[in-house]
């Protein structure tokens, strides 16, 4: 008989699966997509952790997924850093989604420096969220980013190609985006909860 563990701590740590799901507390970092918040164990993005978003191609709605969060953070006066984006962020488009562009820093970095720059931003603790498009990222790199996000209490988003899906990843959350035949998002891994069996549909209003 080992040490006695209070039942409530086990339940709070979400290590015990319960037949009837308890109502989840409101998340610290809601995604802005109610359907997605409902299925994620943290009620939103895992706070202070790396989230990996896997894409079939550019321009399938990956920014729409995170823009509500960025709008909320920048309007709260927090800084968001974008490292090595594949295209120019369009100011008018981001502003239409409510993002305060004065709080968005864009960092140009070569392929080999993306992970370094992202880690510095995460570790600094002065960024609320860091978005990056790492091309050369192996398991070790992602693990470093995960640790840095935890250290700096920041949201880290790594956007990668769908071909990385079979490889294991240290990210706390892995989402896979699908554009055709309909826009939806699959939760492929989420720390602290079971992976939902159904995809979450993603509305694509233009405004």
């Amino acid at each position: 008989m080992g040490a006695v563990v209070a039942l409530s701590t086990l339940l709070d740590a979400q290590q015990v699966w319960r037949g009837r799901a308890a109502p989840l507390p409101a998340g610290e970092q809601p995604t802005g997509w109610a359907a997605l918040d409902d299925v994620l164990p943290a009620g939103g993005w895992p706070p202070a952790a790396l989230s990996e978003i896997l894409l079939p191609a550019d321009g399938v709605g990956e920014l729409r997924l995170v823009l509500p969060s960025l709008a909320r953070l920048t309007q709260g006066g927090r800084t968001v850093v974008i490292v090595a984006p594949p295209y120019l962020p369009c100011v008018a488009g981001w502003q239409q989604q409510g993002v305060d562009m004065r709080r968005v820093d864009i960092v140009a970095a070569g392929d080999s420096d993306v992970a370094w720059a992202m880690e510095q931003c995460l570790r600094s603790g002065s960024c609320a969220a860091v978005l990056a498009w790492p091309r050369q990222a192996d398991d070790r790199t992602l693990r470093r980013l995960q640790v840095a996000a935890d250290h700096g209490q920041a949201l880290a988003f790594a956007f990668r190609d769908r071909k990385h899906l079979p490889h294991a990843s240290p990210a706390a959350l892995r989402l896979e985006l699908e554009a055709a035949p309909r826009a939806q998002v699959w939760v492929r891994k989420c720390r602290g909860g079971s992976v939902p069996a159904q995809p979450v549909p993603l509305g694509r209003a233009l405004h």
Partner: protein
Amino acid sequence: MLWACIVLPHLALDGVLRRNPQTGPLVLVSGPVNARSIVSANREAREAGLHVGQRLSAAQALLTRFDAVPYDRDAVDRWHRFLAAVAYRYSSEVSLLPHAIVLEVSRSMGLFGPWPRLEAMLRADLAALGFRHRITAAPTPHAAYVLAGVSDGQAVLTPEAMRRALQGVPIAKSRLPALAAEALPGMGIRSLGQLLALPRDGLRRRFGAELLDVLDRLTGDLPAGLDAYRPPDVFDLRIELMHEVENIASLVFPLRRMTGDLAAYLAGRDGGVQRFTLRLEHRDGRVTEVPVGLLTPEREPGMLFELARGRLDQVQLPEPVLAMRLIARELPPFVPAGRDLFDDRPANALPIDQLRERLRARLGDRAVHQLDSTTDPRPERAQSIAGNPCRSGFSRDASQSASASKASRLKPLLQSIGPRPTWLLDRPIPLRGTEPRILAGPERLETGWWDGGEVCRDYYVVETSLGQYAWAFCAPGEQAGWMLQGWFA
């Protein structure tokens, strides 16, 4: 009035030692080439029997291996002025005396605390910079100067205590004019107390008015008559390396010293530095310049060192370096970054400005930027790189209100235009693949006839066969020949 006096007994030697922290015997020599003599010797050299005033040839007979560095009067002068700039941090009234600095501290104690704490701060600063020193305090600068010649750490805070302390000072150490200092012991006058007790008329007849003036300044009956020191507006520091240096790694130690000195100077001036130059000097006057530019004024020594090192690491040395020089001309006022009382960031967070500097140091000056919208509707010109990233801290309120009014102006404008994508291509490219499905549009943009960049396009939101939403345009009236402008990602 309370004056602190910092006597620097080994100024020349400390200036040399701090740039090569080695432990072998080292002496400073001066004089004509055929009759060089020692003017200063470090502890190892003195233990080996070398002493000040000895001929260099005699020293060489005593000891086979030691370093002899020529005594450089200009360098000593420079260090003297540099330390005065450091002391300027503690008082606005700083003056230079031979081998010493005096500063008025009675008003500074209101800010820095009572004399023992202020003295400890001065000593910590000097020790960190590597200069040996003696510190005393007295109601007049000259008395403090005289007491510093006798003992270290003495503080007399009232005029009566000062008179008592001066009584026992021997004539030889009381810094009197040379004529009087020589003659007085022969007359049986051996201490300042005896001298001050003598009738003034007799002293004036024997030694002239000069001696009386010196004594009056000593006791405070005459004003001190010192020139106030003004810190220079340009920081210029040069370190000559002991050997030719061929790799950057060996420059790190002197660089740390130099940036530390720069930070000490800036703290004294209560300023920051925005731009400085590292000049690496090679043979025959050739130089390599390494400019270091910062987004906002900085003065934290660790930060300055890290940024300068980041720039230095990228330099390829064409030839060995003989000397290194740091020149800072732009020294704007320093505004510490403010933080909100209810800031929810982690306590050890690095300020965003320092993060930007760190990224710039490795990725290049233009690597970090923000985007701003312009009034031009053409997508290629609708946005530009913002001038200066929004500075956090005190200036934030002003810029925030200015930008807020701009944002409120822009809001109706943003609602009135059609949907804009979130990704923009550098320039439009043909949209390949099967015929796209039109979701919204057209929105006609027809402008630019006045500046040669005329466009007339119909913009549509289209969906590609892969499910991507694209912002594409074609010639007015046609729905073919799609050109891709951006993605609704």
